[in-house]
């Protein structure tokens, strides 16, 4: 039992996590590239043109995975932040810090592609739909997390303060989501309903799943690369970093 606990925490140390992350990165990049190419091929050439929306609908192959990732990454970030706060493991906090920019990127991408899709489909760049609004607020939460971490010089304090903010945000996300949803439905009947889309063709579903996988692998790969950079920066005073960089 004791043996297994030691194994479990082995990679909580930056020194042992750094090479492990280095070994994993190429695999995740490869997976991202393969599923990305396959997903793009299906979404551009195999998936049929939509009867109502024409070719413009193909933007959802990027839009939907980006929205999924933006929400999921926040949960993962809060998870690592909470672990870092509870167990005081350094890599967890670095992991949370490295996920935030990717999450913000996904939220921004989701908003941007949503606007590009909305203009031809709905005739408006932006509508105050419940999902759009909560995605925008999620983007603000990411920005707040990153700004708070950037403003505090002491990395230990930045980690802990960021962790509390991420956890407060997680408690608030369901509240914000439902309040925005009710606010939207109370105001006026939404003229556009995202859920009313025609049932998806099999190939479209496959394209979207492959693209989601590609986004997933990309997010893991890029946050592992970022966490390696953060490890080097924070552990630069140690002996092993000097050897690792050589």
């Amino acid at each position: 039992m004791r043996q297994s606990i030691i194994q479990w925490f082995r990679f909580a140390s930056p020194q042992s996590f750094y090479p492990l992350a280095g070994r994993m990165i190429p695999w995740f990049w490869a997976a991202a590239a393969i599923s990305g190419i396959a997903g793009l091929w299906i979404s551009f050439f195999v998936a049929p043109t939509d009867a109502q929306q024409g070719e413009g609908y193909r933007i959802i192959f990027v839009h939907v995975p980006a929205s999924w990732m933006s929400m999921f990454i926040y949960l993962v970030m809060a998870f690592w932040a909470g672990i870092g706060l509870a167990l005081n493991t350094r890599v967890s906090a670095m992991m949370a810090q490295s996920l935030a920019p990717t999450g913000a990127l996904m939220a921004a991408l989701s908003l941007l592609t949503g606007a590009l899709w909305g203009k031809p489909m709905w005739g408006a760049w932006w509508v105050w739909d419940a999902r759009l609004t909560s995605e925008l607020i999620l983007f603000f939460l990411y920005l707040g997390f990153m700004a708070l971490q950037a403003a505090i010089d002491d990395p230990r304090r930045a980690d802990k303060a960021g962790a509390i903010l991420a956890l407060v945000g997680v408690v608030n996300i369901p509240i914000i989501y439902f309040s925005v949803k009710w606010w939207n439905t109370l105001h006026q009947g939404s003229t556009i309903n995202l859920t009313k889309a025609p049932s998806m063709a099999q190939t479209m579903l496959w394209g979207m799943l492959l693209m989601a996988l590609a986004f997933w692998m990309y997010s893991i790969a890029v946050s592992l690369m970022r966490v390696r950079a953060i490890i080097l920066e924070r552990e630069r005073h140690t002996e092993w970093v000097k050897h690792a960089v050589e």
């Binding site: 707040g144 606010w183 109370l186």
Partner: protein
């Protein structure tokens, strides 16, 4: 409980010795709400429609204005460290400070809101709902804001950062607070809005002092 009341009393006393700080936030609220009719035009129908939103957003910003002062002075002169070391739980003292902050920055807004609502041609019952919603909502703003104030304590560019952290978290309060008045004007039932606002207040009253204490301990390390 004694320590709680003593903290409230102390903060109120300190604020009374320096009244201008409290009054600044109140005047900010009055001025901002008075600017909107000047910018939009004096049409009573339009003003009546946007009044709940304007009053609520102005209340949000006025609360935000007072937040950096919540812990800053005590942090600067070391009082906060003594509070953390004292035998009474820090969470209790923090709750006392939050209550004092609401009495100074939130309650005046609640009391002023009906007067300012008159500028926007709200009728008596709508003014009543507005006051009730603010009475439930402003303590919520103080509680959530205290977490942000503790997190940004002694941080570079704390004021702007505080707004960035706290304003997204204020959105539910804004939606239901302003929504209650709008629903009333539209002739709908306001019970749901006010109940949700009260539920969020209870939730925040339980968790916010706890999270604020954790953030303060990090800042004091």
């Amino acid at each position: 409980m004694n320590a709680f009341l003593a903290t409230v009393r102390r903060d109120l006393l300190l604020a009374m010795r320096r009244k201008s700080e409290v009054l600044t936030a109140v005047f900010f609220f009055v001025i901002v709400t008075s600017l909107f009719p000047l910018g939009i035009g004096p049409e009573p129908v339009l003003l009546k429609k946007i009044a709940p939103g304007i009053l609520w957003v102005a209340a949000l910003l006025a609360t935000l204005l007072g937040l950096p002062r919540l812990f800053a002075a005590d942090h600067a002169d070391g009082t906060l460290e003594q509070m953390a070391l004292s035998p009474s739980p820090l969470g209790l003292l923090v709750a006392g400070k939050i209550l004092a902050h609401w009495l100074l920055c939130g309650l005046p807004l609640v009391l002023l809101a009906p007067v300012l609502g008159l500028q926007f041609d709200l009728d008596a019952s709508a003014l009543g709902i507005l006051t009730l919603a603010l009475l439930l909502g402003t303590p919520l703003l103080s509680l959530i804001g205290a977490i942000g104030a503790a997190l940004t304590l002694g941080v570079r560019g704390g004021g702007v950062l505080l707004a960035l952290l706290v304003l997204p978290l204020y959105i539910p309060a804004l939606i239901f607070g302003a929504g209650a008045v709008e629903a009333h004007i539209a002739g709908l039932d306001v019970g749901g809005h006010l109940s949700l606002l009260a539920a969020m207040l209870v939730l925040a009253a339980f968790f916010a002092p706890w999270a604020t204490t954790a953030a303060l301990r990090i800042a004091l390390e």
